[in-house]
Symmetry: C2
Subunit: 230 residues, 2 copies
């Protein structure tokens, strides 16, 4: 599987293009509304046929470009069933598999940041959304987030993958772009190095983060799949 | 060769860690002074032995972290001979080869942005500094830059590499993180699609860019390898 990482500097969001080299069938993970022109041009230059527009969750910090991209270049829009999205084509659940040519993308439900977080798993890599981030994890204090669910997703699901599995998060705020399961298992500041649930929970509860600036427009915008004019 | 891309958001600079998985011997390409703490921690967590601190050129937009990293974690500092650097350990020229375990890094002189640009070439990938950037190239209007040299470096050296060679630039300002030689040969806005030297030169001469904000501190800082207190 070919992987291309794209970045939106305003919201520190990573978008990913995945494609099967032989068939040119492609998926876009977590596009950003303001980058739809860039992404459309890039996809056309690469000669890709977009089959899926995959969302890792209903974002609170940016509006997805998935709906507008669907109109321009096609593809089925995928969100987790718990999102209650009415504009998605597929409401995915744990274990669902999407194919790009011979390549497989597996849905792994990894809630904690929200109740609808999906990790997309391919051979050798995971796209972990706001669940597992480099040395970090997503906040758990809104959108049906949960310390218990996050700890379970990190330590019982993701950290049990092979240690050389590459980790591609939805965001990074320190300039990291990727990691591996092995690194996060040992060095993740919140849940790594066999931290107990109690220690993890104390760290998460002490963050006192302000609400994301765009939450009041981002969540409703994302429940429309970014098609703001519809 | 393992490759890890790191980003400095203030100057839109990519730093790269390269390492040989077996021996853990590593090189750092284009570190940034303000990110030395992050990079040192990351290198130590990954268990790497830094052998080389490689600069693609004397930068005008940020100060290198190579000198400070050399003091903290070791490694020989490499800059092109034309830079006239007095703090580098190795003044490299075209064709020089550096080894990390069994892996080789080759020096390819690709001037145009300055007179001292190096592309570092490994098996399957090139680190092209400010010479070749995604759909773009570095400016040529100061620091002994030259349209002629840039056009030659792009079309006669880099575009002649295998088309699937991955391209990792020193900067990007639109959220791209990598490309391939094939893509740039066809889609590079300045020199791709068989643009003539005349067309290329007209584009480059019409840019009228302001000087980089930090040029007056960056160039002298880089001629000290980032060791500002020495």
């Amino acid at each position: 599987m070919q992987i291309r990482q794209l970045f939106d500097a305003d919201t520190w969001t990573f978008t990913y293009l995945l494609w099967d080299e032989q068939s040119k069938e492609a998926a876009v993970i977590d596009s950003v509304l303001e980058q739809v022109d860039r992404d459309e041009t890039h996809i056309r230059e690469l000669g890709l046929k977009v089959k899926y527009l995959l969302e890792t969750h209903i974002h609170a910090d940016h509006i997805t470009g998935a709906g507008p991209l669907r109109k321009r270049i096609g593809g089925e829009l995928v969100v987790h069933k718990n999102s209650g999205s009415e504009c998605a084509d597929i409401l995915a659940v744990d274990g669902d598999v999407f194919s790009l040519g011979e390549q497989k993308i597996e849905v792994v439900h990894t809630p904690g940041h929200t109740d609808n977080d999906i990790t997309y798993k391919i051979d050798g890599a995971v796209f972990t959304g706001d669940t597992l981030m480099v040395r970090d994890c997503g906040r758990t204090d809104f959108q049906l987030g949960s310390n218990e669910a996050m700890y379970h997703s990190l330590t019982e699901i993701l950290f049990k993958l092979p240690e050389d599995t590459m980790v591609f998060p939805a965001h990074d705020y320190k300039g990291f772009t990727q990691s591996t399961i092995g690194e996060e298992k040992y060095f993740n500041r919140r849940a790594g190095d066999r931290k107990s649930y109690q220690d993890f929970s104390t760290i998460m509860d002490s963050m006192n983060l302000p609400n994301p600036k765009r939450i009041d427009i981002a969540v409703p915008g994302n429940l429309k799949c970014g098609d703001l004019d519809d």
